[in-house]
């Protein structure tokens, strides 16, 4: 037949190839890869410790020894940025994965389960969504104290409803499609239908959403750290680098630039990667040969 091709349409290698063929997606992937490599290799990429003080070398401009200069306590800013990237990625990946998993489970339960469960979960999602994130975060931090786990907890609680809502809507539309009816007609139960036939069709849109959400979480972490509600000093974080920089912006611009640039680059990288993924996963956007 005319349209028979080798069955490799859905393999990950072809997905990767399609991202690479799109300049923006390729750029996003490059940025994200560099970011992850920099965070993972922080210990080897710079000889300095992110927390070692050297009061004699405060607020130095960039030179060969300190590529991004030093801050008000004489710490190497590059080391702090790289180690701060670790924190940023750790927080964002753990909390996005947690929210995604929880959101997917609750969303599928709402979309596929009985009506009362759907109504109850929707009510829960909307109630949680209606808290202003910052006020909610302040309240939680006040109650259990600032720490990495607090940030992760706050992000999971506030973003789970976003995923839950989307998964619910998708599940509802998949539920009435013929292939789900066909599986049920063969005798498949709810768990089997959800795990084998609904979930695989949700993964694409969810990955796109998650990659778009990671920079948002990094901003939340930076923001809370900037306000002093995030990671405790002296642990490096992009937000606390920025905050320290602001106090001394009349003396040197470098800490602010060094703290702000990674946030901007991360946002751009993950957003472009998300756009690239969308083109790969959304069949309606695929151009026919």
């Amino acid at each position: 037949m005319a349209h028979l091709q080798p069955a490799s349409a859905e393999t990950s290698s072809s997905a990767l190839r399609r991202i690479l063929s799109d300049p923006l997606g390729c750029f996003g992937l490059l940025l994200v890869t560099l970011l992850v490599a920099a965070a993972l290799g922080a210990d080897w990429l710079t000889p300095w410790s992110p927390t070692a003080l050297n009061v004699r070398q405060r607020l130095l401009p960039p030179d060969l020894a300190h590529l991004l200069g030093t801050d008000h306590l004489g710490r190497d800013i590059l080391a702090r940025v790289l180690h701060g990237g670790r924190i940023a990625l750790y927080v964002s990946i753990v909390s996005v994965a947690g929210a995604l998993g929880l959101g997917a489970i609750l969303g599928m339960a709402a979309g596929y389960g009985p009506r009362w469960l759907d109504n109850a979960l929707i009510l829960l999602f909307d109630a949680v969504r209606s808290f202003p994130t910052v006020l909610f975060a302040l309240a939680v931090v006040t109650l259990i104290g600032p720490s990495l786990s607090t940030i992760i907890l706050i992000v999971i609680i506030t973003t789970t409803p976003v995923y839950g809502r989307i998964v619910r809507t998708q599940t509802l539309s998949l539920k009435s499609q013929e292939f789900v009816l066909a599986e049920r007609a063969m005798g498949a139960g709810a768990i089997r239908v959800l795990l084998h036939h609904v979930l695989p069709n949700l993964i694409g849109p969810l990955l796109i959403l998650a990659s778009m959400e990671i920079p948002v979480v990094i901003t939340i972490e930076s923001g809370l750290s900037f306000l002093g509600l995030g990671v405790r000093p002296p642990t490096p974080s992009w937000g606390s680098i920025l905050n320290d920089g602001y106090s001394f912006i009349r003396d040197t611009p470098w800490p602010v630039i060094a703290g702000g640039a990674p946030i901007v680059l991360t946002t751009i990288g993950f957003t472009f990667l998300g756009e690239g993924l969308r083109d790969v996963f959304d069949p309606r956007l695929q151009r026919e040969p």
Partner: protein
């Protein structure tokens, strides 16, 4: 002989989501009837054709048999066991013995599974220990597709090929009854025959009961022994295929038959055989529901719903003035 499937007085209705209007008029009906008082029987090895236009309730009826749609009135007995809705888990033992083919051949295959995995699905669902690879190969050969199709995904198949995969899967566990919803929809004329021939051959081999739901009268004529005609949720005429085609008793059946265009320019018609459209099930006409389109309607038809009357053994009609 005992009936394989016995449907008696089946009634199916769906809730209406009335929006804000429903709040203002709490006494308005909250359900709309899709099937009313439908009765039919299928014997082992028999092919029954259920014919109707869209909105006639034929798909609801077919889905109720397998419990995908709950029914509110009447009974469905499959091999003497009642089917009464319930959870997917409770219905699993019965679904093992009923194969179902859905209308859209590609959309009824889970899009991210390979054909091999889709064909093995019935065995996995029912926990039947077999060599699944061998079973998929047997099934794909049975419907005349080669093993090269096994690693493919549904979207790589044509409509006709996907239809065959659907048929193979419906027959995987040697069901006693197969329900085929529009088995020729979306297929080219030159391939329609293929799908039906295959269905008929495999049915004859396995003595499977077959319920074909369709709007395509010319196609059903060649494969079914008995035909039921549905209109607005009721079976308005039922009988042996030759009788229905040669001496239709209900004016709707006659109109449907006359509406089929003949591939011969010398047999052109001057006017469409039936005017108007099937009314909305939310606004059922009074009396006989067909009177709004019936060329021979009388005042009695507007007032009084006709009962189902047997004209001959096995041939019944719901009409006050059946055609000779």
């Amino acid at each position: 002989m005992a009936d394989l499937l016995d449907i008696d007085g089946l009634g199916i209705s769906y809730p209406i989501h009335g929006g804000w209007r429903a709040l203002l008029s709490p006494n308005a009906p909250r359900r709309v009837a899709a099937v009313i008082g439908a009765s039919l029987r299928i014997a082992p090895g028999e092919t029954y054709g259920l014919v109707g236009e869209s909105g006639s309730g034929k798909t609801s009826l077919a889905r109720a048999i397998i419990g995908l749609v709950p029914h509110q009135a009447g009974t469905i007995h499959f091999r003497g066991h009642p089917i009464a809705g319930g959870s997917d888990r409770a219905l699993r033992p019965i679904r093992r013995h009923i194969g179902m083919m859905f209308q859209d051949p590609v959309a009824s295959l889970s899009p991210r599974k390979t054909i091999a995995s889709l064909l093995a699905e019935p065995f996995r669902i029912h926990g039947i220990e077999r060599d699944l690879a061998a079973e998929s190969r047997r099934l794909i050969d049975m419907v005349g597709l080669g093993a090269k199709f096994l690693p493919m995904f549904p979207h790589q198949l044509s409509g006709g090929q996907a239809r065959r995969v659907g048929l193979a899967r419906a027959l995987a566990l040697n069901p006693a009854l197969v329900i085929a919803d529009e088995p020729t929809a979306g297929l080219d004329v030159s391939v329609q025959g293929e799908a039906l021939n295959l269905l008929a051959t495999l049915q004859a081999e396995h003595r499977t009961g077959l319920l074909i739901v369709t709007h395509n009268l010319p196609v059903i004529r060649h494969v079914s022994q008995r035909i039921g005609i549905m209109y607005l949720g009721r079976i308005v005429e039922q009988g042996p295929t030759p009788t229905i085609f040669r001496r239709p008793a209900h004016p709707y059946t006659a109109g449907l038959l006359a509406a089929v265009p003949q591939p011969d320019p010398d047999l052109r018609r001057d006017a469409p055989p039936l005017s108007g459209e099937i009314p909305s099930p939310r606004n059922r006409p009074s009396g006989c529901e067909f009177h709004t389109r019936c060329p021979i309607a009388t005042p009695r038809c507007r007032a009084e719903a006709p009962p189902y009357v047997e004209l001959a053994p096995g041939h019944g009609v719901r009409c006050h003035t059946p055609l000779g």
